[in-house]
């Protein structure tokens, strides 16, 4: 199935979104069915497209094993925040409506290759996967569930960082979630962190970076400060691979880059060591 990489073939057809997916990275046309069967990974350039939290759960968890927890924890508006484009409360409700999720992370219990876990998966569609009070509360409660049930915790991150609309309360979620992770460490409960595109700002500087094992998807953007901010600060060009999963691996901050197709089996492989006691 390599014919669609031929530019001539593109002009020969009139692709529509219903039939064709267009790879955001290499712009290749891929039949929609193939795009979805291939875990939303481009067969030509291996680009890993962003997933919704439910798509991720379907890929990682044993069929039918996922059971959502903390669904009643929803978006809050502690600052009654509004900016030039309107009230945060309205934007949050729009995000809920758009995604069908209550916050930027979906949490639950599940099995991975038969191994019981607590899992949390962030959804970038929900206000850029930003960390705020509802997100932090779901993560803390997921970690507490892992502690009580003595199950490993797995968190998939996909986030632009702390949510500005909840101001300092969002910043405090970094401390809150790390306090929960700290308790897992003390109780020797495994915690695996999977960094997907993108994992930046306050999320990279809190729970995402302190996994027992940090795993990343290929080419995922991972970093603390934004590229533009750094360029303006140091007034020099940044390397092309700057803040990619590969860059992080080279600098010693992730253990493994794992292709989406191999993610479930890799997690199960690690969990068989981590859950041995």
């Amino acid at each position: 199935m390599g014919w669609f990489t031929n530019p001539a073939a593109k002009t020969a057809s009139t692709p529509t979104e219903a039939i064709w997916a267009i790879c955001p990275a290499c712009k290749a046309y891929v039949p929609q069915a193939e795009w979805n069967n291939d875990l939303r990974v481009c067969p030509r350039c291996d680009y890993h497209d962003r997933l919704t939290c439910r798509q991720r759960v379907a890929q990682i968890c044993d069929s039918g094993s996922f059971s959502e927890i903390n669904a009643t924890v929803s978006v809050r508006d502690p600052l009654k925040f509004a900016d030039a484009s309107g009230a945060y409360a309205d934007k949050a409700q729009a995000a809920v409506k758009k995604t069908g999720e209550g916050e930027a992370i979906l949490t639950g219990t599940a099995l991975i290759d038969g191994i019981p876990v607590v899992i949390g998966v962030m959804d970038f569609r929900f206000l850029g996967g930003s960390l705020a009070s509802g997100t932090g509360e779901r993560i803390l409660l997921a970690a507490e569930a892992a502690l009580q049930q003595r199950r490993p915790l797995i968190l998939f991150s996909a986030s632009g960082g702390a949510r500005m609309h909840e101001g300092i309360i969002s910043l405090m979620q970094m401390a809150k979630t790390c306090a929960a992770i700290s308790r897992l460490q003390q109780a020797r409960i495994p915690y695996l962190s999977v960094l997907t595109d993108p994992t930046t700002g306050g999320v990279s500087a809190s729970y995402a970076m302190v996994g027992d094992i940090n795993i990343a998807e290929p080419k995922a953007l991972i970093g603390f400060a934004g590229r533009r901010v750094i360029e303006q600060t140091i007034k020099q060009q940044l390397p092309d691979d700057f803040q990619t999963a590969e860059y992080l691996l080279e600098h010693g901050f992730v253990d493994h880059i794992v292709h989406r197709g191999a993610m479930k089996s890799f997690l199960a492989q690690v969990l068989r060591y981590a859950s041995h006691r």
Binding site: R76, P78, L79, F81, A82, D83, A84, S85, A132, S133, G134, G136, E137, L140, A162, M164, H165, E166, G167, I168, I169, S170, L171, M172, Q173, M174, A175, K176, C178, A179, I181, S182, R183, Q185, Q186, G201, G202, S204, A205, S206, Y207, A208, M209, V210, I222, G223, F224, A225, G226, V229, I230, T233, I234, Q236, L238, F242, Q243, H251, G252, F253
Partner: protein, 270 residues
């Protein structure tokens, strides 16, 4: 610098200017003004010694503590040397090393926070700025010794929080503490950096707002005309507040202390 009339209630944007005032006491002033003794300890044992974040043993009113804090300079030369109080990963790792030493020796930690933020540089990313801050957040939550934080000037986002998870968080009246600078927030959410005064208002970054939100425990009142108008008086007010809380925290048994610290942060945003 905008003109500020202290006879009226200051706007959040005016308070930002006061918090950044070059004459505001810096950590070197606190060391001189409230410590009988200071033994600086250098280096993260892995890469280097960050001049933007300093620390060491200190005695304050007879109380032995591990003092850590961001360092802003008093002149351009000093500020360049201290990177304007913006720490690199080795700064956060040095701070963690000193916190663990305090835990080992059974002395409390006093953290003075005054930074625009963690340094956004190429090398900082390469050496793991995110990991360094994340590690500190995780370790501070479980550090088995009392931990007092004072936000003395600018509490700039993750760069501030990276040394600011404590049992008690005090804040000076005209300090600010925020997830993002008002300028940064304005340029993103208002698409205009000049809307910083509006962003400063909306972000609720003043001591008064943060006390109401339960993010800080106590406001340290500043002299008339703010800390820069009478640094000695301001430093004394900090010393008095710090000593009160240190003495109280030392009486709490460690397991209770850690449970309360966990509960304090677990409750953030509830």
């Amino acid at each position: 610098m905008i003109e500020i009339d202290f006879s009226k209630k200051l706007t959040p944007w005016e308070i930002v200017q006061v918090a950044r005032h070059p004459g505001r006491p810096a950590i070197t002033d606190y060391v001189q003004g409230m410590c009988e003794e200071f033994v600086e300890l250098h280096g993260d044992r892995a890469f280097g010694d960050d001049r933007a974040l300093i620390g060491g043993f200190a005695t304050i009113g007879g109380e032995r503590v591990m003092l850590i804090g961001h360092r802003k300079g008093k002149s351009v030369e000093e500020n360049i040397h201290a990177n304007f109080g913006m720490a690199n990963p080795e700064g956060y790792r040095k701070a963690l090393r000193l916190m663990k030493l305090a835990e080992k020796y059974g002395i409390p930690v006093l953290s003075l926070v005054d930074t625009p933020g963690a340094y956004p540089g190429l090398d900082a990313e390469a050496r793991g700025q995110a990991e360094a801050i994340a590690r500190n957040l995780t370790e501070m939550a479980a550090l088995r010794t009392p931990f007092v934080v004072v936000i003395t000037g600018e509490g700039g986002s993750g760069g501030a929080l990276g040394i600011a998870v404590g049992d008690v968080v005090l804040m000076m009246q005209y300090a600010v503490y925020s997830v993002i600078s008002p300028e940064g927030c304005a340029s993103i959410l208002w698409r205009d950096g000049k809307k910083a005064p509006e962003a400063a208002e909306a972000l609720k970054i003043t001591s008064e707002s943060l006390k109401k939100l339960g993010v800080i425990d106590e406001i340290i009142v500043e002299p008339d005309g703010a800390a820069h108008s009478d640094p000695g008086l301001a430093i004394n007010a900090v010393k008095k507040a710090v000593l009160k809380h240190l003495k109280a925290l030392k009486k709490v048994d460690t397991d209770t202390l850690l449970q309360k610290r966990y509960d304090k942060y677990a409750a953030m945003g509830r």
